[in-house]
C-alpha cells in the first residue's frame, strides 16, 4: 500500500480528490448565484439548502481520505479506515435531519396557505421580475452537478467508495431539484400560490430520501454488517463469492465478513491458522480488485467469542 492506500487505486483516488475539489468550487459558485436571488420563494430556499448540503459529501470525502492515508499509530493500531464510515454516517444524519425539517416547513406553508411575494428588481435600468433570475440560477445549478456526478460514478465503483457513490448519485439526480424549483417559481408566476410550496416539498423529500439511504448504508458499515453492494442494502456479489470460496476451502468453519470503509475483512472461525493463504490468490473476483480483501484471520476451535456463537 502506498501512503495507506493500495497502489491499484492510488491514481483513481487522486482523480476523485481532484473532482471533489472541483465540486466544492462549482457548488460554491452555485450557492452564491442562488443566494443572490433567493428572495422569499420556499422552493428556491430549499434548493439552495440542498446545494449547500451537497457540499458535505465532498468535504467528508476529502477529510476521510486524509485520515485513510495516515499510518496506524499506537492509539489507533488498526489505522483509520473506519473514519470513512464514520464521516459517511455524519453526512447521512445531516441530510436526513435537514430533509425532515424542510419537509415539515414546506408542508406547513401549504397548510397555512401562505402566499409568497416575488417582487421585481431594478436591473440595468429595467424592472425584471426576480422569479426570472431565480429560474436562471436554478437552471445554472443543474449543469455542473450533473456533469460532475457522471464523472464520479465510475470512479466510485472502482474505488468501492460509499461517500463518493452517494455524492455522485445525489449530483446526478440534481437536475430534478433544479427543474422542480424552476417549475415552482414559474408556477408562482402563473398565479398558482401553492406551486412554490409543492416544489419545496418535492425537493425536501428528495433530500430526506438521500439521507435515509445513506443512513442505512452507514449503519450497516459501522455495525460490522456483511459488505453491501455499492449504494444498495443487499450483500456485495464479490463478498458473496469470497464467502462461498472460503466455505469451500474450510467446510467445517464458519465464515464471517465485514466491511471497513472500502475494504473487506474475513474471519474463518473454528479452524487453525492456514499459513498457505495468499490474499491476492484467494480473491475470487477480478484480480485488479483484489486489494479489497484487506485481512483474513483465523479463530481456532473453542476460541470463538460469545457474540460469534449466536
Amino acid at each position: 500500500m502506498s501512503k495507506g492506500v493500495p497502489p491499484e487505486i492510488a491514481a483513481d483516488l487522486e482523480r476523485a480528490v481532484r473532482l471533489e475539489y472541483w465540486t466544492i468550487g462549482w457548488m460554491i459558485s452555485i450557492v452564491v448565484a442562488m443566494g443572490a436571488v433567493v428572495g422569499s420563494s420556499q422552493a428556491m430556499r430549499t434548493a439552495l439548502i440542498e446545494d449547500m448540503l451537497s457540499l458535505i459529501p465532498a468535504i467528508v470525502f476529502l477529510v476521510a481520505i486524509r485520515f485513510e492515508r495516515k499510518a496506524p499509530s499506537r492509539l489507533f493500531p488498526f489505522g483509520y479506515q473506519r473514519v470513512h464510515s464514520l464521516s459517511f454516517m455524519i453526512s447521512a444524519v445531516a441530510l436526513a435531519a435537514m430533509g425532515s425539517l424542510l419537509l415539515i416547513e414546506s408542508l406547513m406553508t401549504l397548510v397555512r396557505q401562505e402566499h409568497v411575494t416575488v417582487p421585481p428588481i431594478h436591473l440595468f435600468g429595467e424592472d425584471v421580475w426576480l422569479g426570472w433570475l431565480m429560474v436562471a440560477a436554478l437552471l445554472y445549478s443543474v449543469v455542473p452537478p450533473v456533469i460532475l456526478g457522471r464523472m464520479k460514478l465510475p470512479l466510485a465503483r472502482r474505488l468501492q467508495d460509499e461517500v463518493l457513490h452517494t455524492d455522485a448519485l445525489m449530483q446526478k439526480a440534481d437536475w430534478m431539484t433544479g427543474l422542480a424549483g424552476a417549475a415552482g417559481v414559474i408556477g408562482l408566476g402563473l398565479g398558482y400560490w401553492w406551486a412554490d410550496a409543492v416544489a419545496a416539498t418535492i425537493i425536501s423529500f428528495s433530500i430526506l430520501q438521500d439521507g435515509v439511504t445513506a443512513l442505512r448504508i452507514a449503519t450497516a458499515e459501522l455495525a460490522d454488517g456483511v459488505p453491501r453492494e455499492l449504494g444498495k442494502s443487499n450483500i456485495d456479489p464479490e463478498a458473496e463469492q469470497l464467502m462461498r470460496k472460503l466455505e469451500g476451502q474450510y467446510p467445517a468453519a464458519r465464515i464471517r465478513l465485514r466491511e471497513t470503509g472500502r475494504y473487506i475483512h474475513a474471519e474463518v472461525c473454528g479452524v487453525d491458522a492456514d499459513p498457505r493463504q495468499n490474499l491476492k490468490i484467494l480473491w475470487p473476483g477480478m484480480p485488479e480488485r483484489s486489494w479489497r480483501l484487506a485481512q483474513l484471520s483465523f479463530v481456532p476451535p473453542n476460541k470463538e467469542t460469545r457474540t460469534g456463537d449466536s
Binding site: H122, L188, G191
Partner: protein, 148 residues
C-alpha cells in the same frame, strides 16, 4: 413540421409576457372595476409625506386607469383588512423593522424621516403574493421616491 419550434417560442413568449400573475387577481380586478381600495394610516394630524402619498395614488391611478377609494384608520385594522383582501393597498408610516413586514408586503419607501422615535418610513403595503400588482406598485413607488 418546421413551424413547431417557432409556434412554441411564440407561445412561450406570450406566456412569459403575462408572468407574474396574481393568485387572487388583484391587478385584473382593479383594471376591470376601474377602482382600488386604499387604506390611509392616520398619523395623528401629521401631514408629513402627504404630497408623496397623493403623487403615489395619482401614478397608480394613471397606470391602471382606476380611481382610488380612500378610507382612513389605525394601522392594525387596516393592515388586517389588507391581509384579508378587503383593501388593495395601505399607505402609512412604518418602522424599518416593522413586524407587519412578514404578514404583508412592504414596498420600497416613498419617503422617510428621522424623528425622536427613530427612523420612520413612508411606505405602501400590499397583500402578500399578488406579484403582478406588487410589480406595478414597486415601479410607481420607486418613481415617487426618486422625486426630489
Amino acid at each position: 413540421m418546421k413551424r413547431w419550434p417557432i409556434l412554441c417560442l411564440a407561445w412561450a413568449a406570450t406566456c412569459c409576457s403575462d408572468i407574474p400573475k396574481d393568485p387572487e387577481g388583484t391587478l385584473d380586478r382593479v383594471r376591470a372595476e376601474r377602482r382600488f381600495q386604499v387604506g390611509i394610516i392616520a398619523a395623528g394630524g401629521s401631514r408629513i409625506g402627504l404630497d408623496r402619498q397623493v403623487l403615489m395614488l395619482r401614478r397608480v391611478s394613471e397606470a391602471t386607469g382606476a380611481d382610488p377609494i380612500l378610507q382612513t384608520g389605525a394601522s392594525g385594522p387596516l393592515l388586517t383588512r389588507l391581509e384579508e383582501g378587503e383593501l388593495d393597498i395601505v399607505i402609512g408610516q412604518f418602522a424599518p423593522a416593522s413586524p407587519w413586514g412578514k404578514k404583508v408586503t412592504l414596498l420600497p419607501p416613498i419617503g422617510e424621516q428621522v424623528s425622536r422615535d427613530g427612523h420612520i418610513l413612508l411606505t405602501v403595503a400590499a397583500r402578500n403574493g399578488e406579484n403582478a400588482w406588487i410589480g406595478l406598485l414597486h415601479r410607481e413607488a420607486r418613481a415617487v421616491a426618486a422625486k426630489p
